[in-house]
């Protein structure tokens, strides 16, 4: 049996996987505000911040602070690198399932 492929540890954690899926679900080039992302994920602000920082450190996610009508907004988007990482992550998942028979 060939060696099992490794899953990207940045994405392969429940919370960060859901964050990544949510961001990958946006159209390329679109950004989402922090509160809306929080609502789509049912996460606390603190929890989401922590995971976003880890994704940002890996350069999978880009976080921009902007002002709209003098109100500060935090905008989040998946980088091209993040999108590629997520695609290869799902490919690896399918390969793993095939390798283990996927009963």
């Amino acid at each position: 049996m060939s060696e099992l492929p490794q899953l990207d540890p940045v994405i392969h954690a429940q919370a960060r996987l859901r964050v990544t899926v949510a961001l990958a679900g946006l159209h390329a080039g679109d950004q989402i505000t922090f509160p809306r992302l929080q609502q789509l994920l049912d996460m606390t602000a603190g929890n989401l911040s922590t995971h976003l920082r880890k994704l940002e450190d890996a350069e999978y996610v880009e976080i921009t602070k902007a002002h709209e009508h003098r109100t500060p907004v935090t905008l989040v988007r998946l980088t091209a690198r993040g999108r590629t990482a997520f695609e290869s992550y799902t490919k690896t998942l399918h390969r793993l399932l095939d390798a283990t028979g996927g009963d």
Binding site: L7, H12, A13, Q14, A15, L17, R18, V21, A22, G25, L26, H27, G29, D30, Q31, I32, T33, P35, R36, L37, Q39, L40, L41, L75, R77, T90, L93, H94, L96, L97, T100, G102
Partner: protein, 207 residues
């Protein structure tokens, strides 16, 4: 909880689950929007068809008023669902969505002016005026759905547009008052069919 190791299967399930959530929340529920329009067209135009039949003791304007009220309700509902789905999203898709919405408003106003002006010349019989309105509005609806289909690369939406254009031609060919039947049956029926297809897709998770 977060640090618990996930199997590949659990991971894929989680992806599918979050994707369903995203589709439901960001898709704006095309099924619900189209169902609202199906209701407005079928009830409004269906009622108008009945009202214009000889021997029916309903004044002709009642059908028009009812259809108008149902259309305003459908516009408000569609705007609300669309705005709710798009909140917190910034970027190209938001701009495209807004431009598409404005296209409906602009072209509807333009067509209203043209149709009202031609109707007011008084040279057309009321039956011919009725055909002018049903034909031109079905055509405009069709063209805008063609545009939507192109924008979002949605073949179903494009197909709905093509169907509306066929209905536009049919409505002027069958003449008054059967044109109202075409509006209710083919127009409203087209919306209903599309709503059902989107609804089934949402449930089965196909995008």
């Amino acid at each position: 909880m977060d640090d618990e190791p996930m199997s590949a299967e659990e991971s894929l399930n989680l992806i599918a689950q979050q994707n369903r959530r995203m589709r439901r929340e960001l898709g704006g529920g095309p099924a619900r929007m189209l169902a609202a329009w199906a209701l407005a067209w079928i009830v409004g135009w269906g009622f108008t068809y009945v009202a214009v039949q000889p021997g029916v003791a309903i004044p002709g304007w009642v059908g028009g008023v009812l259809t108008g009220v149902l259309f305003v309700a459908a516009i408000v509902y569609t705007g609300y669902v669309g705005a709710r789905a798009g909140r917190g999203i910034r970027g190209p898709s938001k701009t495209v969505g807004a431009m598409y919405g404005y296209s409906w408003a602009l072209s509807s106003m333009g067509l209203s002016v043209i149709d009202i002006r031609i109707s007011n010349f008084g040279s057309l019989s009321s039956a011919q005026v009725s055909l002018l309105w049903s034909g031109s509005w079905l055509l405009l609806t069709g063209v805008l759905y063609l545009a939507g289909g192109m924008l979002w690369q949605d073949k179903l939406m494009y197909g709905l547009g093509a169907w509306m254009i066929v209905s536009a031609a049919l409505s002027v060919l069958v003449g008054f008052p059967a044109n109202f039947l075409v509006l209710a049956g083919c127009g409203g029926g087209g919306f209903l069919l599309a709503a059902i297809v989107y609804f089934v897709r949402e449930k089965t998770g196909r995008c």
